[in-house]
């Protein structure tokens, strides 16, 4: 069974992504972006550009309804800068023209004047009294406060207390496919082909911007050439739609890498200050956390990222008391957004580092220390909420301890080696309030295929092959009898976003919920046509068989059934698995994962190499094993980048890494073989039976790698990615310079 559909076409290059295969006569779209990070737009005159021959549309904020803003919890972002620019690379205007050369010429004809404003380049400065304000509401975008018990008192009872502060990188999703798409207008509406995780959400957003009824906007959101959360945020779709709607011609707009590096939403840099303590027996008593997040210029998913990060900051451990504070500050450093791991990656890495430091201080083996403190199977969730019980936590700890020992590196003058562990959990799906519910359709289509229709999207994670496997396991049908329709707003039902690791879970639950009512309809239809009672029939490969007579050809093929009975459709709606809690956003369904990493550190250069990585995800039995493994190994490589090579620096609002000659994602030579050891056991009465695989590998791998560095050096990293400079500094302080 394939891990992903279309593999051969992808390799041979005949597979079509959404920005490819443009219709005849498609115009070239191009963006004018801000060279400055923070400025008032004093003048913007596009008349000369508009009158250039071959130009069919020039759009600016003036072409967007003046109250139209984008965001999730907070609506603060215009699709084209309005009155002010807030980050370098923010789109100011866009053109659609016959050719690239004309489009470029038109951009050059746009006259604009920007009056610089003071640049807010660090989140700490952003929250200062006198800081320049990015938005009228001030620079505190959102905050998070939670406490349980009396941490201050419990620290008094601690035998060991440590504190540790970790700063995490601005990691860029950097999918190989750039943000872009094609938009094709009709007299009454548009078809928008551009990557999105939520076709229905994108549709209603674009429709409202253009003042069109939803049904006049068709959104095709997948296949996607890589996203990792980066294309979950609305990217250039509104600008593309505006151009096509204005020009009344198809338009293709694709960012260049240098534009993408400034424009794409990135992983938020967190500064996480932790203090934790345990008693003599190693039991964790208290945690205080102060977290400051660089949100960039617009809210995007920032508030949700902060909430998720804060919810996960206790990892999989039971602290007696906690006192948590998190703040999300607006700055002029690009825009932070959704990225696989979603805030939890940052806080989990910090807490797992802190736990190791404390374990070492208490002279307790780090694995034993984790066991002592593991949350109980039926404990409430980290913020006191009701959660689906997690008896698998102890199984994960067992599996981690049972990993075969690595062969020790031969000791050398030059290299130090270290091994690190992590055991984490993260909420799946969205926090209470959702969107957590979903809808889908099971249909027998006129061509005789049992089809699962949803608006979930395929981005290489193997959703389609997973759905096919679920269909095959649910219905006794052959490969040719089933079909999976994904990725667009054509689906009869909105399945919600394909994100937060929820895609597989949603597909499985939808099909499970729809199976009986759908089968019932099929049996009724078949019985009527064959004139036999329903219980004399059996659904098998190709169609319906009369139970008594063994035969290899169905008595009624699925296509004959469809031909006589018409399309048979069951619409399915499932509720979200969620709880709400006053004051904080909480998850109900959690996924656990452990990891072990090995590193080798070069004492001469300070360079760190990851030499091995084991991942132990507790996601139940993988439905599509190859796709599942792929999710884990891919996550491992991104964790490696987060820890060792990736960072987008800003200097005074200026983007420093504009392409892959200065932003370094791991190559094949950087990534060791990643071993995946699924912990398939979940509680027998688990209401879902599986967990999503999208993010959890990343969340465990990164802290394991960071801990491996800490163990090799006897010093926990304070900044990620680990810089060779820091490594050499540590060695020098320890007197271990070569």
């Amino acid at each position: 069974m394939n891990a992903v559909t279309g593999l051969e076409e992808k390799l041979r290059g005949t597979f079509r992504y959404l920005a490819e295969g443009q219709p005849e006569g498609t115009l070239h779209g191009a963006l004018l972006t801000s060279p400055l990070a923070h400025a008032t737009i004093r003048r913007l005159d596009v008349s000369a550009a508009r009158s250039l021959n071959g130009v069919h549309a020039v759009v600016t904020a003036a072409d967007v309804p003046s109250d139209f803003l984008m965001g999730t919890a907070i609506l603060d972002r215009p699709p084209l800068a309005r009155a002010k620019v807030r980050f370098q690379g923010e789109p100011i205007a866009a053109v659609a023209a016959e050719t690239k050369a004309i489009a470029d010429a038109a951009l050059a004809l746009i006259a604009f004047e920007l009056e610089p404003l003071p640049i807010v380049s660090a989140p700490r400065d952003a929250l200062d009294e006198g800081a320049a304000k990015l938005h009228d509401s001030g620079n505190l975008c959102s905050d998070f406060i939670y406490s349980r018990g009396d941490a201050r008192a419990d620290f008094e009872d601690c035998a060991h207390v440590i504190d540790h502060t970790l700063t995490t990188p601005r990691q860029v999703p950097a999918a190989m496919e750039l943000e872009g798409g094609i938009c094709i207008p009709s007299p009454t509406g548009i078809e928008l082909r551009a990557a999105t995780h939520s076709p229905f959400y994108t549709r209603s957003l674009i429709a409202s911007m253009l003042g069109l009824p939803d049904k006049e906007v068709r959104v095709i959101g997948s296949p996607i050439g890589g996203s990792y959360g980066g294309k979950e945020e609305i990217h250039i779709q509104p600008v593309l739609a505006l151009l096509a709607w204005t020009a009344r011609r198809p338009v293709r707009l694709v960012l260049e890498r240098s534009q993408s590096m400034a424009f794409a939403t990135t992983r938020h840099p967190f500064e996480i200050a932790l203090k934790i303590g345990c008693d003599r027996a190693g039991r964790l008593l208290a945690l205080t956390a102060d977290v400051l997040v660089d949100n960039g210029a617009y809210a995007s998913f920032g508030p949700e990222v902060l909430d998720t990060g804060m919810e996960c900051i206790q990892s999989a451990y039971a602290f007696k008391s906690v006192s948590l504070r998190g703040r999300l500050a607006y700055t002029n450093n690009g825009v932070g957004g959704a990225f696989r791991g979603f805030g939890a990656l940052q806080t989990l890495t910090a807490i797992e580092l802190a736990v190791d430091i404390l374990a070492r201080k208490a002279s307790i083996d780090p694995l034993a220390f984790r066991r002592i403190n593991l949350a109980g199977a039926n404990d409430p969730g980290p913020l006191g909420q009701a959660i689906i019980p997690q008896p698998e936590l102890s199984k994960v700890a067992d599996a981690l301890s049972a990993l075969p020992v690595w062969r020790d590196e031969t000791p050398s003058q030059r290299y130090l080696s270290g091994t690190g562990y992590a055991l984490v959990r993260k909420g799946e799906g969205f926090a209470g309030g959702g969107p957590n519910g979903a809808s889908g359709v099971l249909a027998l289509t006129l061509d005789g295929q049992v089809t699962f229709q949803s608006s979930l999207v395929e981005m290489g994670q193997g959703l389609e092959s997973t759905v096919r496997n679920i269909l095959l396991a649910s219905f006794d049908l052959g490969d040719a009898d089933i079909c999976c329709a994904t990725g667009s707003s054509d689906a009869g039902a909105d399945s919600g976003p394909t994100s937060a690791s929820r895609g597989t879970q949603i597909a499985l639950r939808l099909i499970r919920a729809g199976k009986m009512p759908f089968l019932e309809k099929l049996y009724v239809g078949a019985a009527e046509i064959l004139q036999v009672p329903m219980d004399a029939l059996r659904l098998g490969p190709g169609g319906f068989y009369q139970r008594m007579a063994p035969q290899n050809k169905p008595d009624l093929s699925l296509s004959d059934l469809a031909a006589s009975a018409g399309e048979i459709v069951t619409r399915i709606d499932i509720p979200g698995i969620e709880t709400t809690q006053a004051g904080v956003k909480v998850h109900t369904l959690f996924t656990a994962c452990a990891a072990r990493a090995g590193v080798r550190i070069d004492r001469w250069t300070g360079q760190v190499v990851c030499t091995g990585l084991d991942l132990l995800p507790a996601c139940g039995p993988p439905i599509s094993p190859l796709a599942f493994h792929g999710q884990m190994t891919g996550a491992g490589a991104q964790a490696l980048g987060f820890c060792l090579t990736e960072h987008q620096p800003y200097e005074e609002g200026t983007v420093m890494a504009r392409n892959f000659d200065s932003y370094f994602i791991p190559t094949i030579a950087d990534v060791p073989d990643i071993n995946v050891h699924p912990v398939t056991w979940l509680a027998p009465d688990d209401p879902v039976g599986i967990r999503g695989a999208g993010e959890i590998g990343l969340n465990a791998a990164a802290p394991a790698i960071a801990n491996a560095v800490a163990s090799a050096l006897d010093a926990a990293p304070t900044h990620l990615p680990v810089r060779p400079e820091w490594v050499l500094g540590v060695l020098a302080r320890q007197g271990r310079t070569p």
């Binding site: 470029d104 003058q413 030059r414 004492r603 001469w604 250069t605 300070g606 360079q607 190499v609 060792l644 090579t645 000659d661 370094f664 791991p666 190559t667 094949i668 030579a669 950087d670 060779p724 400079e725 050499l728 310079t737 070569p738």
Partner: protein
């Protein structure tokens, strides 16, 4: 020659030289153009490109009786990496080529281009082995260090690596990741019976070459670590040289 195009492919070496002579500063030699195009805007180059990649400069690698090795200036780097004469004579060079760019880029980029574009990693290695560059114009062979200012006004034809006999060479690059990275530091050394040549390139600074006696007594020459760059890179270069030299010294003892 078609004068409307800013690109010409000379028929042979003489042709190339005469085109260059007639164009003077308005023409430049180019080979793979992988480095040259870094400097072009969207409009293309300001000078006419005289593409010498297809000219016959002799075999990629040629072993002279003296034991020295003659390398064709327009040989693509990947072909050199896979050349059995190089893996036999100078395996350090073959291995190091694996860290210069990527395979596809090495299929396009030439040795001459790497040595002349101004920041090539191979310059460091070729400095310590005292390679000589032979240009078409004067026929003389020059050391790398002697080529200054406008490096590419004359046509580079071949590179001669003198017989290394018993010398031991090392070269190492620190990048931003394990492979396919711009260099932060490159160091190289060539240890002969009585002398040692060491070279360092820190970030984008010029290569510094120092020669001293072997076995070494005393610290590394500070001159190696000059250049406008951060202290960390100097430490790395220092550590790498010291480390490699110590290993070689140990071998000598054994």
């Amino acid at each position: 020659m078609n004068v409307d195009t800013a690109y010409v492919r000379p028929a042979d070496m003489e042709d190339a030289i005469s085109i260059k002579a007639s164009l003077r500063a308005a023409g430049m030699y180019g080979c793979g153009l992988t480095a040259a195009q870094l400097g072009w805007g969207v409009k293309g180059p300001e000078q006419t490109i005289i593409d010498i990649s297809g000219l016959d400069f002799g075999p990629d690698v040629c072993l002279a009786d003296s034991g020295s090795m003659v390398l064709a200036a327009n040989a693509p780097l990947e072909r050199l990496r896979l050349n059995p004469l190089i893996s036999g004579q100078m395996p350090t060079f073959a291995d190091f080529l694996g860290y210069v760019g990527s395979t596809a880029m090495r299929n396009q980029a030439s040795l001459g281009g790497n040595l002349l574009w101004g920041a090539g990693d191979l310059e460091v290695l070729f400095a310590v082995v005292d390679a000589k560059l032979r240009f078409a114009g004067n026929g003389r062979a020059q050391s790398l260090g002697q080529i200054t200012s406008d490096r590419s006004d004359d046509l580079l034809v071949s590179i001669i690596v003198p017989a290394l006999q018993e010398s031991r060479i090392f070269v190492e690059k620190l990048g931003h990741r394990q492979a396919f990275s711009p260099a932060r530091v490159v160091v190289a050394g060539c240890v002969g019976r009585q002398s040692v040549r060491l070279a360092v390139r820190l970030a984008g600074n010029p290569v510094v070459l120092v020669e001293t006696s072997w076995p070494m007594n005393g610290p590394l020459d500070d001159a190696l670590f000059t250049g406008d760059t951060d202290i960390h890179l100097k430490t790395v270069a220092h550590n790498l040289l010291r480390g490699h030299l110590a290993q070689l010294a140990q071998q000598d003892m054994a």
